[in-house]
Subunit: 337 residues, 2 copies
DNA sequence: TTGAAAGCGCTAACAG
DNA sequence: CTGTTAGCGCTTTCAA
C-alpha cells in the first residue's frame, strides 16, 4: 500500500533507519528532538509502519487470538466487548475464531498458532473438548494462554471464571425454598468445567435437604439436541414430574419455555425456572426469567488484562492464577415469590 | 516459536528454499514428486509457515478486517458467524474491531489499515459516520471493501443489504391494516442508510393511506438515549397518543416494552409493536414480539464471499454491486390478529 | 522443473 | 545518542 518506508524517512532526515525505527517506537535511547523530527515527518508523509515486517523482525505480532465456541450468545458477545476494549486500549489486534463447540475445529485453530501468528490466546473451551494436549504443547513452546469461563482446572495459567458452584447452589436453594421437590438440572456437556461445578453446586444444595440427585433430573444437551429436548418434555409429563429447573447455560432457557408452552404447563405454577443467562430480554419474557447473571463483560476484560500484563513483562513464566468474579441471582417471575 | 524453517526443509531434502517455498504453496511449476516429499517432511517435522515472513514477501496477509458497531446484538453476532465460516473455509483470518457507534473510533481503526494489515475489509458503518473520505482514500489505495447492512449508497463497491424499504413498508402497512392510526417510527440515527430506507418505507405506507409523517411520531435514539426514551414515553401519554410503533433496530424493541410496562399500557391492546429484530427470544416475550427478521447469517456469508472472490482474482477493480437479501415479517402477538 | 540471488521493511545487537 | 551490519523467514524474478 503506502510506498513510503522507514528508509524514506531516514533519507529525508539524514538519519539511519535504525534511528528512525527506534524513534518511531519511542525508544529511550533517542533524543527528544529526533523523535519530534521523525514523528513530524512521519505524520506529514502519512507513514504507517508495516506490521508484518515489524513482526518478522521483532518476533511479536501485537495481536491476540480469541478462541470461543460461539458469538451468538450474550455471554460471549459481552466478553468479546470486554476483550476488545482492553486490546484496543493497548494497541493490540484481535483475531477471532469460533469453534462452534467442535473439538476438531478448535484443534485446527490452535495448530495454526504454532506459526507465531498471535502473541497470546484468550480461550473458552469447546463443549467437546476433554483433554488439553495441544494446548500444553503450545504453552510449553511459550505461547501464553488465559482461559475464561470454560477452563481447565489442571492447567498452569490464568483462569477467569465466575462463582459457578455458589451460584448454582444458591439458585437451587432458592428453588428448594420456594417449594420445589423435583428439581432438574439442564447441562450442556458432561466434561466442561462450568458443567461440573454448576452441577456440584446443585448437588450440594439438594444434599443439604437430605436429597440426592436423581438420574432422570439431570439432562445433558450435547450432541443430539432434539433427543434431549424430548427427554426434557418427557420428564415434564411423568406422574412425579419435575417442578423446578436450573438451566446451566443461557441457550437452554428458551427450550424450557417452549416445552412448557407445548405441554400447557405454567411457569412458575407448574415449573419454576432459573437460568444462567445474560439475555437482556430476560425481564420481558413471559414470565420474566429469573437468572443468574454473569459478569460477562468484566470477565472478558479481566481475562484480556491478565494476558496483556503478562505479555508486557516478556520475561517470566506463566503461573496459575484463578480469578473468580461473582454472578448475581436476579429473581423475577419464573420462580415463585 | 517453531525453530524449523523453510531452510531446514530445503537442507534436509537437498532442495533450494525457493523450490520448497513453491512446493508448499502447491505451485504448478513444481513436480508432483517434490511436492510430496516436501509435504511429507513438513508434516513430519511439524513445520508451519511463518505468516509474517510470508506476508512481508507476498504483500498479502490472508486476513480480513471486520469493522462493526457492536457485537452484543443478534444481527451482528449472526453476521459474524457467517463471515467467520467463509473465512475459515478459505483459509483467511479475521481481525475484529468494534466501533461502538463512534465515528472517531471507526476512523482510527481504518487508518491502521493503511499499513496493509488486512487484505480487505467487511464493514457496517457506525451510527455517527456521515461521510466516507477515509474509506475512499483506502479504496483508492487499493484496499477492497464490502459493506453490509449499513452501507453507503454512493460508494463503488459491493454492498449487501436486506430489503429495508419494503420491509418497513410492509410492517407499517400491517400496522395500518390492523387499525393503527398514529404509528411511531423509532430510528437509531438520522444518517444511516438503513435508517433512511426504513423511514422511507414507513413513509410510503402512510402515504398510501393519505397520511403524512408527523414530526412527533418519529423518534431518533442517537446520543442521549435517555432523552429519547422520555420522548417516547411522552408520546405514549399524550391525548392523541400513538397506537402503533415500528422499531427500526433490535435495540429499540425492549425499551418499548419497558415504557408500556411503566405506563401500564397493554401490547397490543393500546400499542401494537413490530421491530426489526433477530432476537431468538422474540417468540417468548410478553407478548411475543412481531418482528422483521433479517437474514443476518446469510448477509454475513454473502458479504464475506463477495470479498473472497474479489481477493482471488487479484487483477480487476472493484465495481458497485448491490445484493439484497429479503427479510421476513413474522407476525406474533404484539400486533393484533 | 529447479536454483541463485535479491529483496520485502523492519528490528537488533554492537560499535562508535 | 546515532549508525552499521546482519538478519527475521519467506517470496520473487530470472537463469539454468
Amino acid at each position: 500500500m503506502s510506498k513510503i518506508t522507514i528508509k524514506t524517512l531516514a533519507k529525508e532526515l539524514k538519519l539511519s533507519v535504525s534511528t528512525v525505527s527506534k524513534a518511531m517506537r519511542d525508544s529511550h535511547e533517542i533524543s527528544q528532538e529526533t523523535k519530534l523530527r521523525v514523528n513530524e515527518l512521519a505524520k506529514k508523509l502519512n507513514y504507517v509502519i508495516n506490521p508484518y515486517a515489524s513482526s518478522l523482525g521483532s518476533k511479536t505480532s501485537k495481536t491476540i487470538g480469541v478462541v470461543i465456541p460461539e458469538v451468538v450468545d450474550s455471554f460471549f458477545a459481552l466478553a468479546i466487548n470486554g476483550i476488545e476494549s482492553v486490546a484496543q486500549e493497548n494497541g493490540y489486534h484481535v483475531l477471532i475464531y469460533l469453534t462452534h463447540e467442535s473439538r476438531e475445529k478448535e484443534q485446527n485453530i490452535l495448530m495454526d498458532f504454532e506459526s507465531g501468528r498471535v502473541d497470546g490466546v484468550l480461550m473458552s473451551v469447546s463443549r467437546d473438548t476433554q483433554d488439553h494436549l495441544y494446548i500444553d504443547e503450545l504453552m510449553q513452546a511459550g505461547l501464553p494462554f488465559v482461559f475464561f469461563d470454560r477452563v481447565f482446572d489442571d492447567v498452569e495459567t490464568s483462569q477467569i471464571t465466575t462463582n459457578d458452584y455458589e451460584s448454582a447452589y444458591l439458585a437451587t436453594k432458592h428453588l428448594l425454598e420456594h417449594g420445589c421437590k423435583e428439581i432438574m438440572f439442564l447441562a450442556y456437556s458432561k466434561s466442561l468445567s462450568i458443567a461440573s461445578k454448576r452441577l456440584q453446586g446443585y448437588t450440594a444444595a439438594l444434599a443439604e435437604q437430605g436429597l440426592v440427585v436423581a438420574q432422570q433430573n439431570v439432562i445433558t444437551f450435547d450432541h443430539d439436541f432434539n433427543a434431549s429436548y424430548l427427554q426434557l418434555k418427557g420428564r415434564l409429563q411423568e406422574a412425579n414430574r419435575s417442578d423446578g429447573v436450573l438451566a446451566s447455560v443461557e441457550k437452554l432457557a428458551i427450550p424450557i419455555y417452549q416445552a412448557c408452552e407445548e405441554l400447557h404447563l405454567s411457569i412458575p405454577g407448574d415449573l419454576q425456572v432459573i437460568s444462567f443467562s445474560n439475555l437482556d430480554t430476560a425481564a420481558y419474557l413471559n414470565p420474566p426469567l429469573s437468572t443468574i447473571t454473569q459478569p460477562a463483560f468484566e470477565i472478558g476484560k479481566v481475562a484480556a488484562t491478565a494476558l496483556m500484563t503478562f505479555l508486557k513483562r516478556k520475561d517470566s513464566v506463566q503461573v496459575k492464577e484463578e480469578i473468580v468474579i461473582p454472578s448475581t441471582l436476579v429473581v423475577r417471575k419464573s420462580t415463585k415469590a
